[in-house]
Amino acid sequence: MQEAFEIINVKLMESGEKERLMELLRERLIECGWKDEMKSLCRAYVKKKGRNNVTLDDLIYVITPKGRASVPDSVKAELLQRIRSFLVSTSL
């Protein structure tokens, strides 16, 4: 499985599809307010800790659980559908 994943990962990158998927997901997450929500989580944390006492890892740690949980189902479904069609088209 890991091997298949790696092969497809390279195919996704080489075809430029990975970047397009990333862009699509970014767009959708902005539209639904997900990004704003993540940013306000970060802002609240920075406010609490002080802007010089916050590391990148802290921020990733702060927003990851909520970030994973709050992606709308419709967005997730759309992305999964597109990834699956790519998999079918590469016949893997």
Binding site: M1, A4, F5, I8, N9, L12, K18, L21, M22, L25, R26, L29, K35, M38, K39, C42, R43, V46, R51, N52, V54, T55, L56, L59, I60, V62, I63, T64, G67, R68, V71, K76, L79, L80, I83, R84, L87, V88, S91
Partner: protein, 177 residues
């Protein structure tokens, strides 16, 4: 080349969800990285002000919705800040620049339209406003009346005078006082 099978579908679903997870993790790092830069370099100076404005605005709406606080609305049309009162339809009388007849201010526009022989259905000129032009809806307008007009387009004077906009004979003119 393998034909799609149940096995394949299941594998695809698993792979797809793994890829989706990866994309999401990457975007989470993007956001964190962006916020980190903003925090460290102090690029969010405006934000606190914005939040403050929002709070004030929300408070204002709440207060304005409170019927006990509508003093402004009640004093409307009674007296202005200079201590003056005005009739609902402006009654200043002046000479029409076109036909030289005496006319009352509040009835000047409907009079002038007929006096100048302009058509009501005149089409509006295309406006030179580049941002408005980017708007794809052709007619983008909010129309405003005097609050004293009723729906059929006639204007009645409050004192019971029978002058009507559509009346060609009276034509909104009146005798010099």
């Amino acid at each position: 080349m393998s034909a799609p099978s149940e096995d394949n579908t299941a594998a695809h679903a698993q792979l797809a969800s793994q890829f989706f997870g990866d994309l999401l993790e990457s975007i989470i790092v993007d956001v964190a990285s962006e916020c980190h830069r903003i925090a460290r370099l102090g690029l969010d100076q405006n934000l606190e002000d914005e939040e403050e404005e929002l709070k004030l605005s929300t408070q204002a709406r709440v207060r304005a919705a409170d019927p006990g606080n509508s003093g402004e609305a009640n004093s409307k049309y009674v007296v202005d800040i200079f201590g003056q009162t005005h009739p609902p339809v402006a009654n200043e009388v002046f000479e029409c620049m076109n036909c030289r007849r005496s006319i009352m201010a509040g009835r000047f526009a409907p009079h002038l339209e007929k006096c100048m022989g302009k058509g009501r259905k005149a089409s509006l000129k295309a406006m030179r406003s580049s941002t408005a032009a980017q708007n794809r809806h052709s007619r983008a307008a909010l129309l405003g009346y005097s609050p004293y007009s009723n729906s059929n387009g006639t204007t009645r004077l409050s004192n019971g005078s029978t002058s009507i906009a559509g009346d060609e004979l009276s034509n909104g003119t009146c005798d010099e006082p």
